[in-house]
């Protein structure tokens, strides 16, 4: 995409090109967040014998817009004892961390924000900024409960980045690339070539790999839920324990931006999992329904499937305790992944 558009801009207006290139993910996030807010409400309502929004538009599809209108009108209250610059900055930093991750997330074979060769590594690194934003929010609020939430989220996100990274490593070892487009091209040609089924390797290597890739994929998904702070890992904003965690003191649009970041993050981890393990934008039927346009359909479908799964899990399970959360990460997920990484390496070498 960048190569296509570059001749249209003179060197003086080169920065315009980047703004245009950065716009599609933003538009996508906003639309996706509106749809997902509605979807989440409807899914939870049907699980709980309710009907949820019904009045604003048919089946309440305009309700998310109405919510945003309300949030824009609300007063931005700031606690008197808050650290004001940090308090204002925190939600934006959280959102920037997530949004920056979209830069290397492919939307089809023709569109990727920035086609760098360290895509996977970049996403892992840049989303860590979210932790700084959350800590900032908790600290700046000058509220003990917010501080608890921030400390919990810092501990949690850092602990779960290790399993995420190790699970990604399994996929990266198989595909042999950190560039997400290359990773997906490796998996083209149908459902049997997805990394979760061993990738497009020769059958003798592929079959013994399947148990390890499947475990890595599962752990990647679990760690993904933990990274976006969703139930059963929603401790940083555990309502019944910490009131609302790090965003207790936030109101209006700043509060909305925290939620926008959370929803965007849900899509980001789902998108990365879909790219690395489920073939990204490639069609599950080989050449049938493939191409750049269908690619958008496939990757959004796969990633959104995970988002719906996350919503489903959220409204089903209770919440873990903070020590059990750490136990799960360090003593269950990471040892399993060490085995996976080691075994994958061994199979690939032999």
């Amino acid at each position: 995409m960048e190569e296509l558009l570059r001749p249209l801009f003179s060197d003086d207006y080169g920065w315009l090109l980047y703004i245009i290139l950065a716009a599609p993910p933003m538009v996508f996030i906003l639309l996706y967040a509106l749809i997902t807010v509605w979807t989440e409400m409807k899914i939870s309502a049907h699980m709980q014998d309710r009907v949820a929004y019904m009045y604003t538009g048919p089946h309440g599809i305009l309700q998310p817009l109405a919510d945003i209108l309300k949030l824009i009108q609300k007063e931005n209250t700031v606690p008197a004892a808050a650290n004001k610059p940090l308090f204002f900055l925190a939600p934006f930093l959280v959102f920037i961390g997530t949004y920056a991750g979209f830069a290397t997330l492919p939307f089809s074979s023709a569109y990727i924000g920035s086609n760098i060769n360290l895509g996977v590594f970049y996403i892992l690194a840049v989303t860590s900024i979210v932790v700084v934003g959350l800590l900032m929010a908790g600290w700046a609020s000058n509220n003990k409960w917010s501080m608890f939430g921030a400390m919990r989220s810092a501990g949690q996100i850092i602990s779960y980045e290790i399993p995420t990274a190790l699970a990604l490593l399994v996929a990266v070892m198989i595909t042999g690339s950190l560039n997400l487009q290359d990773v997906i091209r490796f998996q083209e040609g149908g459902i049997q070539n997805w990394v979760v089924f061993g990738g497009s390797l020769p059958l003798a290597q592929k079959l013994p790999l399947i148990p390890f890739t499947a475990i890595a994929f599962l752990i990647m998904f679990i760690a993904g839920i933990a990274e976006v702070n969703r139930t059963p890992f929603d401790l940083p904003e555990a309502e019944s324990e910490l009131v609302q965690g790090y965003n207790t003191e936030y109101s209006g649009m700043k509060f909305a931006i925290f939620y926008l970041a959370e929803y965007a993050n849900m899509y980001l981890v789902s998108g990365v999992a879909a790219c690395l393990f489920l073939g990204g934008w490639s069609s599950p039927f080989g050449d049938f329904m493939s191409g750049p346009i269908w690619g958008v359909f496939w990757i959004v479908l796969k990633a959104y499937g995970f988002v719906v799964l996350q919503i489903w899990i959220r409204w089903t399970l209770p919440r873990l305790r903070v020590d059990q959360l750490m136990y799960t990460s360090w003593k269950v997920l990471i040892p399993f992944l060490f085995v996976c990484v080691f075994a994958t390496g061994l199979i690939l070498v032999l």
């Binding site: 014998d49 003990k144 929603d234 324990e241 409204w315 873990l320 059990q324």
Partner: protein
């Protein structure tokens, strides 16, 4: 007896152990939980001393909902007028409160209660017990972070409230059980609706068991948490599911019978430590779940043997007991609810004292939550199942 505890001063003044040698206390933090906190079940305020996530000490502060119930009761012009106030004590189990007070006054008057009234009272009290336990279990699910079972519980509770509305017009505060009788007879169709409810309700229970009770995360969060040993439970005068959860086989409906409970076939459920230690949060939870099933059995039996009769024939025209006093205890959903009524021979009570089970059960909270984590403290408070209207009266 321990004295009223206040916060030890050394928490703030004791020098700290920082490596730089400065006297900065960094280990513990005092944090205020409530009265406006989502999981204090009303307006309980807990002053917690925490060391990181570990709770070092808890001091409950109560009184935010004090409404001078006992003083009000002395200033009524007759005994019947106290009942609406009794309703408001434990607002989640008004029927049980009404009944306990009515029993005390009936004991002063030495009234004989018709059999139909006794059966209706059992039906109402057990429906109310289910409604109250549904709230306890549902809010407990929320405390644990599971939102869905909460709404399933409220959906079923709604049907009980519909039954109450059908009978006496009120949905929360009924003023239904009067001294010597009840305010309205059962309406036509009540029995069928109640039977339908008992049938459908068991399906909900099964769903809650599937989603919550035997959920691995839920068990991890509640088993071996907030263990209340048998002797501590007895020493602190705990009662109700709190006591039975600790494995003490004690239920006033069986051990100090009132009403017509002795006629029916039902069991007292106790905690057995199936997934952890006897007396942990999971045991208290499961006792409530099983008690609801027992209550449904009681309702079905009482409906099947409901005699005919006039529900208001025994209501005295003028309540003026002879001078004397009476104490009656009954099993409310939260435990031993007692009323001590003193009569001086006039038309209004000289003194009414309520023995509130939630108040007594709450007092053991600091004892069982030291050393737990903040998330455990929420689990423990939820498993005590307090109603602040009753704690503060």
């Amino acid at each position: 007896m321990k004295e009223t505890r206040t916060l030890p001063t050394d928490y703030v003044t004791k020098p700290g152990r920082t490596s730089s040698g400065r006297t900065l206390r960094t280990d513990e933090m005092i944090i205020n939980m409530g009265p406006q906190h989502p999981s204090t079940h009303g307006v309980l305020r807990l002053e917690i001393v925490v060391d990181g996530e570990i709770v070092v000490d808890v001091i409950p502060h109560i009184g935010y909902l004090h409404r001078c119930f006992e003083k009000h009761a002395e200033h009524m012009t007759n005994y019947q007028q106290v009942i609406p106030y009794v309703d408001r004590m434990d607002y989640l189990s008004s029927m049980n409160n009404d009944w306990a007070y009515a029993l005390a006054v009936e004991k002063l008057l030495k009234l004989e209660i018709p059999d139909r009234v006794q059966h209706i009272r059992v039906i109402m009290a057990e429906l109310q017990r289910i409604a109250s336990h549904l709230i306890a279990v549902g809010t407990y699910a929320i405390d644990m972070g599971a939102f869905t079972p909460f709404l399933w519980c409220f959906r079923d509770r709604e049907r009980i409230l519909d039954l109450f509305e059908l009978t006496c017009g009120a949905r929360l505060l009924y003023n239904y059980i009067w001294v010597g009788g009840v305010s309205h007879d059962l309406p036509p169709g009540f029995a069928e609706k109640a039977k339908d409810f008992c049938r459908d309700f068991r399906e909900t229970m099964q769903e809650v068991h599937d989603v919550l009770t035997y959920n691995e995360i839920f068990i991890k969060r509640t088993a071996n948490v907030g263990v209340l040993p048998k002797d501590v439970a007895i020493n602190w005068a705990c009662s109700g599911p709190m006591l039975r959860g600790s494995g003490v086989d004690w239920d006033l409906r069986r051990d100090d019978p009132y009403g017509v409970y002795h006629k029916f076939d039902w069991n007292v459920q106790i905690g057995k430590g199936e997934v952890g230690t006897v007396g942990d949060c999971w045991d208290r939870y499961i006792v409530r779940m099983r008690e609801m099933e027992e209550s449904a059995r009681l309702i079905e039996q009482a409906l099947a043997t409901l005699p005919e009769g006039n529900v208001q024939s025994a209501i005295p025209k003028r309540i003026r007991p002879e001078a004397g006093d009476a104490y009656v205890r009954s099993e409310s959903p939260r435990g031993e609810l007692g009323f001590y009524v003193i009569s001086d021979g006039t038309a209004s009570p000289y003194r009414v004292k309520g023995r509130a089970p939630a108040f007594v059960n709450l007092s053991v909270l600091p004892e069982i939550s030291r050393g737990a984590m903040i998330a455990d403290l929420v689990a423990i408070v939820g498993s005590v199942d307090i109603v602040l209207g009753e704690v503060d009266r």
